[in-house]
Amino acid sequence: MIDRDQVLHVARLARLELSGEEVERMSETLSKVLGYVEKIEELDLEGVPPTSHVVDVVGALRADEPRPSLSREAALASAPEVLDGGFGVPSPG
């Protein structure tokens, strides 16, 4: 089960600000969902390899050739803040 402190720790890892009410609710619903997904503990999985990708793709590399890419203007067009031709951000502190 996942308590209030764990919720706050995970929220920090996930870069999410949660309100006090959200923290309470998250603790409750995550505990419920985790209670369900822990069903997988029942299975004997000794020696079973993990699957991260279902189809075999080998050497899926394209040729490393220069080609046209987005212009700087197009790449910056949706940015909330543009600064000196780049993405503007507040100071990392």
């Binding site: 600000e17 997904v37 997988i40 991260s52 793709v57 949706s78 951000v89």
Partner: protein, 471 residues
């Protein structure tokens, strides 16, 4: 005009080719219907469409596209507040391929935020209503695409399926939905949810239309290194019987947890399959009851990683913090994401965090291996696995929003195929309580042509009438 709307995509394309109908007339007929849409199926509508090339195979029959496919210069918001007004600088490969084949963009369709949901109630742009009963959900996450096709406000549509997001809404809206083999359709330009599972596919009124669209969707794309070359041409289905076809009915997915009315329709169709010459026998997918648990670790884990990109820096919404970068990130994401997306990000971050990785994510990936093995074993004896698509019919709006687990159980019959990466179709399987039910047919990787043939033979005898939803 009603006559136009009654045509399937293939029939409309045929009329256009014969000169009996113009592509512009068809586009206008659908655009007019879509403009007065009361289901909230669309989030954006095209003003017009280019004149199709005279030899374009899809002849100008327009298509509705789930919002999460990037379309250059057109809002692509993935049902999220964090991408409100976002117009990407490029177009998804599959949208471009379909446009080149003669299916121009009709509009963008509503969806659960970032494709996370089974009811379309998680959209920042409001829920979509089910055209069979407007007090009920259309399913999700591709609810807008499914409702639009069912209601005849689009001739056909595309959506994406991660754990059932094409098949379940297709079932709940009484139309055909196909999730192709993982890798057969490019994911380039699809706003990602869970990259090892996401796959694009068609929503259509009949199986022939599904084959026709799929033909122009598959193919290797240099821009998606997980895409594969489909080993054969997608054919239009012709089968009228099922002689020699062996259908396996997994006991784990066709009994407990399925509504009685849905089960009754499912069993009636198994009898019809026998009548067409199919052998129908029980089979077992011993790990299928654990698929949902594995899925709700793997998909949130991948989502928590994919959604890290929404940080208020390069695109989308930004909310200022306390002058520093970290508080800007945290407030932007707090304001931009809805409750279900936050829940999945939290769940995924937790499952991947130090000390829990092996017990949750690592273990879920091992379950995934067992599920794929289960299918391989069954396909040694059977051509296809068949199940009800969704455990129930469309439920009432609001009835499951407070209980995430009840909502997740909608995916019980569709998630195992997603984890195994295999193709599966849902076809309309008659009504229960006056609402559509779905029949799911799943086969080995790249068996799409044979699945479509089997679905076609069944569709003929089921003779489902979806016209009520288009009135």
């Amino acid at each position: 005009m009603d006559d136009l709307i009654a045509l399937s995509g293939a029939q409309a394309a045929q009329r256009i080719r014969e000169g009996a109908l113009s592509a512009a007339e068809l586009f206008e007929a659908y655009r007019a219907r879509a403009a007065s849409d009361e289901l909230n199926a669309y989030t954006w509508l095209a003003e017009g469409a280019p004149v199709p090339a005279s030899d374009a195979p899809l002849a100008g029959v327009p298509i509705a596209v789930k919002d999460l496919f990037c379309t250059a210069g057109v809002p692509s918001q993935a049902g999220s507040r964090i991408l409100e007004g976002y117009c990407p600088p490029y177009t998804a490969t599959v949208v471009r391929s379909l446009a080149e084949a003669g299916a121009p963009l009709l509009g963008k369709t509503n969806q659960d935020e970032f494709a996370m949901g089974s009811s379309n109630e998680n959209s920042a742009y409001g829920p979509v209503l089910n055209p069979w009963d407007r007090t009920r959900v259309p399913g999700g996450s591709s609810g807008g695409s499914a409702a639009a096709v069912a209601a005849g406000i689009a001739p056909w549509a595309i959506g994406t399926d991660t754990g059932g997001s094409i098949r379940q809404p297709a079932a709940l809206c009484g139309i055909v939905g196909l999730k192709p083999t993982y890798g057969s359709v490019s994911r380039y330009g699809m706003i990602a949810f869970a990259s090892s599972l996401d796959q694009a596919g068609p929503f259509t009124r009949d199986v022939t239309d599904a084959a026709l669209l799929l033909r122009h969707m598959v193919g290797q794309d240099p821009r998606d290194s997980t895409s594969l070359s489909f080993p054969e041409e997608i054919e239009l289905p012709r089968a009228e019987d099922l002689r020699g076809i062996r259908l396996g009915v997994p006991a784990e997915l066709s009994g407990e947890g399925i509504e009685p009315g849905v089960l009754e329709r499912f069993r009636a169709t198994l009898e019809q399959a026998r009548g067409l010459g199919a052998e129908v026998e029980e089979c077992h997918l011993p790990h299928a009851p654990h698929a949902l648990a594995a899925y709700y670790l793997i998909a949130p884990a991948e989502c928590s990683s994919n959604l890290a990109r929404f940080d208020g820096v390069r695109y989308g919404k930004r909310v200022d913090g306390e002058g520093d970068l970290l508080s800007m990130y945290e407030r932007t994401r707090a304001a931009g994401f809805g409750p279900e997306v936050k829940r999945r990000i939290m769940l995924g971050t937790y499952a991947l965090s130090s000390g829990y990785y092996d017990a949750y994510y690592g273990r879920a990936q091992r379950v995934r291996t067992k599920i794929a093995e289960d299918f391989r074993a069954v396909f040694g004896r059977f051509d296809f696995v068949v199940t009800p698509t969704s455990p129930g019919v469309a439920f009432e709006l609001g009835s499951k929003t407070e209980d995430p687990l009840a909502m997740y159980l909608n995916d019980f019959c569709t998630v195992p195929m997603s984890l195994a990466g295999i193709p599966a179709i849902s076809i309309p399987n008659g009504l229960s309580e006056g609402l559509p039910t779905g029949f799911q047919i799943a086969g080995p990787a790249f068996s799409e042509n044979r699945i479509l043939d089997t679905a076609h033979a069944l569709e003929r005898v089921l003779a489902f009438d979806g016209s009520r939803a288009r009135s």
